[in-house]
């Protein structure tokens, strides 16, 4: 990993303004922002790890945990919320034993929430990897997860 991250950093200057572009590239390269990456970025940009964490935790686009093999996104936009999106999220969190933004111990799934997937007529919707599943129920979702290993 150290070489890989150096490669990412090599594309950027050392001004603190580069922080967000660097974070984006690091996330693209590794799928998440690891503690070790933060340390390397801190040395490179000469700002403290705590400041970097402050910036990156502000934006929803950055994650600090290893992504699972499959990413589940539950829509909690207005329409999905009204039609039970949060119940779906609760059941997922409960069933997988993790919180939103975390990854299961076996790295099979990670769970996140999104504000809208743009198909409100089909609400409530859940996205797994690149597929969108419409009119979901807790039972349908439980069955569906069995297809992902």
């Amino acid at each position: 990993m150290p070489e890989q991250i150096q490669k990412v950093l090599g594309k950027h200057g050392r001004s603190p303004d580069e922080l967000i572009p660097i974070l984006q590239d690091v996330q693209a390269a590794f799928g998440y922002i690891a503690e070790d990456s933060v340390k390397v970025i801190s040395r490179y940009l000469r700002i403290s790890e705590n400041q970097i964490y402050g910036v990156s935790s502000f934006y929803a686009q950055f994650r600090f945990t290893v992504p699972g093999r499959h990413g589940i996104k539950v829509c909690l936009g207005t329409a999905c919320h009204v039609r039970g999106g949060s119940t779906l999220l609760d059941s997922l969190e409960h069933g997988l034993g993790i919180h939103c933004g975390e990854t299961t111990e076996d790295k099979r799934f990670d769970v996140d929430r999104v504000a809208c997937l743009g198909c409100c007529a089909l609400s409530p919707v859940v996205q797994i990897d690149r597929d969108i599943y419409s009119r979901m129920t807790v039972n349908k979702l439980t069955e569906l997860l069995k297809n992902y290993e």
Binding site: V38, R46, I47, S48, E49, N50, Y53, G54, S57, F58
Partner: protein, 730 residues
């Protein structure tokens, strides 16, 4: 000086002249108009977080925050209209929607304290004012100022556990109003970057990255965040419930030669807390953990020696001062000039050092005025004194082109210098660090050389070579240190106490002498300059640092027997330790007991710097004063009083002092700089006399010296320092 540009503005129908460049808030405060604010602070850049300082300005739409709006010629400002008032109340209500408000507008407020304790058998208290900041709280003041008497919003209690795992201060973020003062002081004033805002919106919290503790995240425990917190969210563990201080006494920190100004907070006759003074010329308020947090617990330690005691087979016998002084005098008289020595601490005040050297020379008749400096430095003392006497002030790093730090980590000490270095490195200055591991300056360094001290001299050679090389650029290390430019070398404790210090000192001296480097030395001996100036040093008489700043230095090992066994050792504020002469009979004069394993035959309780006045000399040669903040603990007495008492019993009429002023007037007569107005001791150069003693003593284990005062490690008495020392040696 050129006259500052002024603009004329109108505040609340009053014409006011204000300096150009000020914000409306600053201009208003200077004109005596009070605008409430929670996030603005004198030494911090404007931020505009709390929105309480909103005002009306003609020609500006809406309500600008006065802390972020600069004054302009002809501005018409209204700070107190009905509309502004309502707006402020609304803003405050929103602020308070996340802050428990029972102490702010409860109907029982005034009676709460009086009726809190109840006479019952169970530990019941009534009332709900549980905040350590009660009656010191800026939020309480502001609520009153803004005139808010109730809130229409429910309080959203965030239910965070109180964070207590770090040393020195606790954090209850349920009380936090996210004004950002702590984050800004940590990042912008201290340049430390431990605190930052995490997450956003209503999930926002403050703290270091991930789930790290402050200790792990590199916190210096300078307490600056605690001092600026307007609420009770941040509070010092040791003093959180002591309430409003009765008195504040300005004094000097005795824990290192930087000589930071401290404000001691006194409550019920005890020093309970300390704060920094941002207007102090030496350190600009950038004090370290020792000055900020390690004083009350040291001076109020339950282990303080209370009365004179004698060692008897069964333990210790209490005696009165007369008995103890008689016995001490008798023992010293018996041992005579050859059989006794005086060991002084470099942390003593000038006055105590002056009396100590007179005691040794005039009463006992010996030059054996020993101190740990002699044993720590051994045969490298000459070079060390040479570097120390000419050490540059902190300001010199500001204009440096290159800075080289050798064995320096400024996390828990020498923070004013560390911050100055960081500031310079963030601008144009090239910083290079040499240390045996990672140090706190590394991340700002162009190059960080981490290796065993064995290799440091070689590395310094490389730097010197490439500087004196003819135009050819040397290898990597030193291409940014150029001849003829201002370069500063900082010699830190890591270098002073390393195995290779002889070689390191040699090289630094030749960098200074031949290549024009400026040198700063960071050492732990608080009043080392005082020792030299007062002559509390073998072979140096008082006034040895002449008025032209020249010190003729003789190697103490050539003047006096440093090792030979003595019958009686008189330890003034110092602790018998490894390498010092063995003494059959120990007269131990200190505030805290000698470490285990040391058999002190007479214990004489000494008062500390918070209890008796005195002066000290910092590394720049400034004469600074210790001021009395509380009465001496129990029966303890000033060091000079005790010495004078023993002296009078050995030789009738000797060292008869009745007050500090008497000692000071003697010092003024013989020590250059003391009588002067600028309160500075001259320092220019050291001239070596005689040869260096071939066989000098040196101590075995100096590399891991803990922070200590008067020979007693701080961590033995200050709980949090234990954690700090562990971290330092990781």
């Amino acid at each position: 000086m050129t006259k500052e540009k002024k603009v004329s503005i109108i505040i609340d129908n009053r014409k006011v002249e204000a300096k150009a460049g000020l914000t409306i808030l600053q201009a208003a405060r200077e004109a005596g108009v009070d605008i409430p604010s929670l996030c603005a602070l004198e030494h911090l850049p404007s931020y505009g977080a709390c929105r309480l300082c909103v005002v009306e300005v003609d020609g500006i739409r809406g309500f600008p925050t006065s802390c972020t709006t600069p004054v302009d010629e002809g501005m018409v400002i209204r700070t107190d209209t009905a509309e502004v008032k309502t707006l402020r109340q609304e803003v405050l209500k929103l602020l308070l929607s996340e802050h428990p408000a029972s102490c702010l507008f409860c109907g029982e407020q005034d009676d709460c304290k009086d009726f809190q304790g109840t006479i019952r058998k169970v530990g019941v208290t009534t009332g709900c004012r549980y905040c350590p900041n009660d009656s010191l709280c800026e939020l309480q003041d502001i609520t009153q100022k803004v005139g808010l008497t109730e809130t229409s919003y429910p309080v959203y209690y965030r239910n965070f556990p109180v964070e207590k795992e770090d040393p020195f201060y606790d954090r209850d973020y349920n009380l936090c109003i996210l004004c950002g003062r702590c984050v800004r002081v940590c990042n912008e004033i201290r340049l430390n970057g431990t605190l930052s805002f995490k997450q956003r919106g209503k999930l926002t919290t403050i703290g270091p990255a991930f789930a790290r503790t402050h200790l792990e995240a590199g916190c210096e425990f300078c307490g600056a965040c605690v001092a600026v917190c307007p609420t009770g969210a941040l509070s010092a563990k040791a003093s959180k419930w002591s309430g409003k201080p009765d008195e504040i006494v300005e004094t000097t920190c005795p824990y290192c030669p930087t000589g930071c100004t401290l404000d001691l907070k006194v409550k019920d006759g005890e020093v309970v807390d300390v704060s920094a003074d941002y207007d102090s010329p030496t350190e600009h308020g950038l004090i370290c953990v020792k000055g900020r947090f390690a004083i009350p617990e040291y001076v109020l330690s339950p282990d303080r020696l209370a009365t004179p005691t004698l060692l008897v087979p069964e333990g210790h016998d209490l005696v009165d001062w007369d008995g103890a002084l008689d016995l001490a005098a008798e023992k010293i008289k018996e041992a005579g000039a050859k059989g006794s020595c005086v060991v002084v601490s470099p942390d003593l005040s000038n006055e105590d050092l002056f009396v100590a050297q007179r005691f040794a020379r005039e009463v006992i008749g010996t030059e054996a005025i020993l101190s740990p400096v002699l044993y720590d430095l051994g045969s490298d003392l000459r070079a060390f004194v040479d570097l120390v006497l000419t050490s540059e002030p902190i300001d010199c790093v500001e204009s440096a082109k290159g800075i080289l730090s050798i064995g320096l980590d400024t996390t828990y000490g020498f923070t004013p210098l560390g911050i100055a270095v960081k500031k310079a490195a963030r601008k144009e200055t090239a910083l290079m660090t040499i240390d045996d591991g990672e140090c706190n300056l590394d991340f700002l360094a162009e190059e960080a050389f981490q290796s065993d001290p064995e290799k440091w001299p070689e590395y310094l050679d490389g730097i010197m070579k490439s500087m004196s090389g003819n135009g050819k650029k040397g290898k990597a290390p030193s291409s940014f240190f150029k001849k003829g430019e201002r370069n500063v070398a900082i010699v830190g404790p890591g270098a002073i106490f390393s195995k290779k210090r002889k070689e390191i000192f040699e090289r630094v001296l030749s960098m200074r002498n031949d290549l024009g480097w400026k040198v700063i030395v960071c050492h732990p001996y608080t009043n080392l300059l005082g020792m030299l100036a007062m002559g509390a040093f073998p072979g140096l008489m008082p006034g040895s640092i002449k008025s032209d700043g020249v010190l003729k230095f003789k190697d103490p090992a050539a003047v006096v027997d440093l090792k030979g066994k003595r019958k009686v050792g008189y330890f003034v504020g110092e602790v018998p330790s490894d390498g010092m002469p063995q003494c059959d009979y120990i007269i131990y004069q200190n505030a805290l007991p000698a470490p285990e394993g040391v058999k002190a035959n007479i214990n004489l309780p000494a008062a500390l710097f918070t209890e008796v006045p005195g002066t000290t000399i910092n590394f720049e040669g400034r004469i600074l004063s210790f001021n009395k903040a509380s009465e001496p603990f129990a029966d303890s007495m000033a060091d000079w009083w005790i010495m004078s008492g023993i002296a009078g019993r050995i030789k009738k009429g000797a060292l008869k002092y009745s007050s500090l002023a008497g000692i000071q007037s003697e010092i003024k007569k013989v020590v250059p700089g003391f009588a002067g107005k600028d309160k500075k001791v001259p320092r220019k150069k050291v001239v070596m006399e005689g040869k260096a003693a071939e066989k000098a003593v040196s101590r075995k284990n100096t590399a891991e010296m803990p922070a200590s005062f008067r020979g007693v490690p701080l961590h033995d008495h200050v709980a949090g320092m234990k954690v700090i020392e562990e971290r330092r040696h990781k």
